[in-house]
């Protein structure tokens, strides 16, 4: 997929661990880990809102688009 989740970078910037963030936003470690590693198919606005609030960032900071040949 051309959209990459940059949650690990933001978490490293904020010096926040996965467990800490999971506890803060009320998500399971497994789900958050899946989101971080790009295994999830999508993200709800609700979840994005909570993550942005917890990390103090913009939705655009969480994702990055890279052009991939032959995808469409």
């Amino acid at each position: 997929m051309a959209i990459i989740v940059r949650l690990d970078r933001i978490m490293a910037d904020r010096k926040m661990s996965l467990n800490e963030l999971a506890e803060k936003i009320g998500m399971t470690n497994v789900n958050l880990s899946n989101l971080k590693t790009g295994k999830m198919k999508g993200i709800r606005f609700d979840t994005m809102n909570i993550i942005c609030h917890a990390l103090g960032c913009q939705p655009g900071d969480l994702f990055e688009f890279t052009e991939e040949d032959g995808e469409f």
Partner: protein, 162 residues
């Protein structure tokens, strides 16, 4: 576990208890039928026992479905679909089994029985609308299992959304 799962667990508990009570009742009825059959040897008891055994099997399947829903907190899973399909096939097979009843003989036959001193009745096999109704129930459960297949796919998709 989200609120939906908790709510589902709560709701299935009452259904499971009702199913267990019905299953116990059906088992008691089956035993009484067996005792009556051993005492009288009337053919009606055979079909009744077969239908009751099928009801018990259906209820056992239903209880196992409820147990799984309570365990996982989700109604759509492969094993639930398989169990529903087994229930549907079982109902369709049982629906194809004709009834076996004893019909009293007419006056002429009864007169002959006076000499032979046999029980004056004859056994008749018949297939009626009740059988069709049971087959139709099986078909409906089969259709519901297909709805569960679609639900399972939607749930898989939903589980992959954070």
């Amino acid at each position: 576990m989200n609120d939906l799962s908790k709510d589902l667990k709560k709701r299935t508990f009452a259904d499971m208890i009702i199913s267990i009570i019905l299953c116990a009742g059906a088992a008691a009825y089956l035993i009484s039928m067996l005792v009556s059959f051993l005492n009288n040897g009337m053919p009606e008891y055979i079909t009744n026992m077969l239908y009751t055994a099928a009801i018990i099997l259906e209820l056992i399947m239903l209880i196992s479905i409820f147990l799984e829903i309570r365990k996982k907190g989700k109604p759509f899973s492969k094993s639930v679909i398989i169990k529903l399909r087994i229930m549907a096939v079982l109902l369709m097979i049982v629906g194809c089994v004709p009834n076996l009843i004893s019909v009293p003989k007419g006056p002429v036959e009864e007169m002959t029985d006076l000499f032979t001193e046999e029980i004056s009745s004859m056994r008749v096999i018949y297939f009626d609308t009740q059988n069709l109704l049971v087959i139709l129930l099986g078909v409906i459960i089969g259709i519901i299992s297909e709805v569960f297949v679609y639900g399972g796919k939607l749930q898989e998709d939903n589980d992959l959304i954070a």
